[in-house]
Amino acid sequence: MTTQLTSVSNILQLVFPSGARLTLSSDGKKLLTEGYTSIAGNTYFNAISLTDDFVVKENVGVGWLHTFLNGLQIYTHDGKLVAERDFQCFIYSEERVLKEVTDMLTEAIVKAAQRQGIPLNQTQVRNEVFHRVRKVKRLR
């Protein structure tokens, strides 16, 4: 347990080195930053979730009717940004976020292997990623 806490704290220090104030989501799976409300009245914040291998940072915008996913960044535990994507008018849902994370990671891994000349089976990678990104760590 202590090792897990140290690892979480190290990762958060990497993603939020300036010591942002974080709260835990009600399901205990995500860390949420403080929101920033624009003049237009939309609130923006980040949500962080951890898997065994990756840190997923979501950029979320809450409007008067819908909640939008504005961007996704995926880091390895040593703080390397391995995939990022922006979205426009992407209505937020947990399942859609997981699907995007799966797609982004599969693409990043396959392309990385291609660049290094390593043969990889895309379907096998997708299956592996699909299961692993759904095993989000509970933070309490």
Binding site: Y36, G71, T76, E84
Partner: protein, 155 residues
């Protein structure tokens, strides 16, 4: 109206510095300069080396969005600016920046060769620039990703 400027020690500076360093280094950039704008955006310039060239990216990172503000290609040895561009409302994405750098480098190489009367094979230039930029933009993250995939037993 009399304006009095008061200098205040910025106690949060060391933390802000490490924050900027992370923002740059996670993207494979070396932090050159940084500044927090009054609107709260973290503005910074990061640099990456591409065989005799320096690519300087100006980035504005906010809570919900990250913008690419500027792009500069400099010859390392002479410090001559080969290309310089400013952007407005362009969201930052490493692949997008790499594409912009490639377009600019290919354009500069082609016009340089044409002006000096050299003939060239367009595909060769594209392949060369691609391999240089792949190394500069993806080497670090490729290593990190493949380490993870190795741990899964897929390679």
């Amino acid at each position: 109206m009399k304006i009095i400027l008061v200098a205040q020690p910025n106690v949060a500076q060391p933390q802000a510095n490490s924050s900027f360093r992370f923002m740059a280094e996670s993207r494979g950039l070396t932090l050159k300069d940084s500044f927090i704008s009054p609107s709260g955006f973290c503005l910074f310039t990061g640099e990456r080396e591409v065989q005799g060239l320096k690519i300087e990216e100006g980035i504005a990172q906010g809570v919900g969005i990250t913008y690419l503000c500027s792009l500069r290609i400099i010859e390392s040895s002479s410090g001559i600016i080969i290309s310089e561009k400013c952007f407005k409302d362009v969201t930052y994405n490493r692949d997008k920046v790499r594409k912009l750098v490639k377009e600019e480098l290919v354009k500069q190489i082609q016009s340089g060769l044409s002006r000096n009367g050299y003939s060239y094979e367009e595909k060769k230039i594209h392949d060369l620039v691609d391999s240089l930029l792949n190394k500069a933009y993806y080497q670090q993250s490729d290593k990190a990703l493949l380490r993870v995939v190795k741990g899964w037993g897929l390679i």
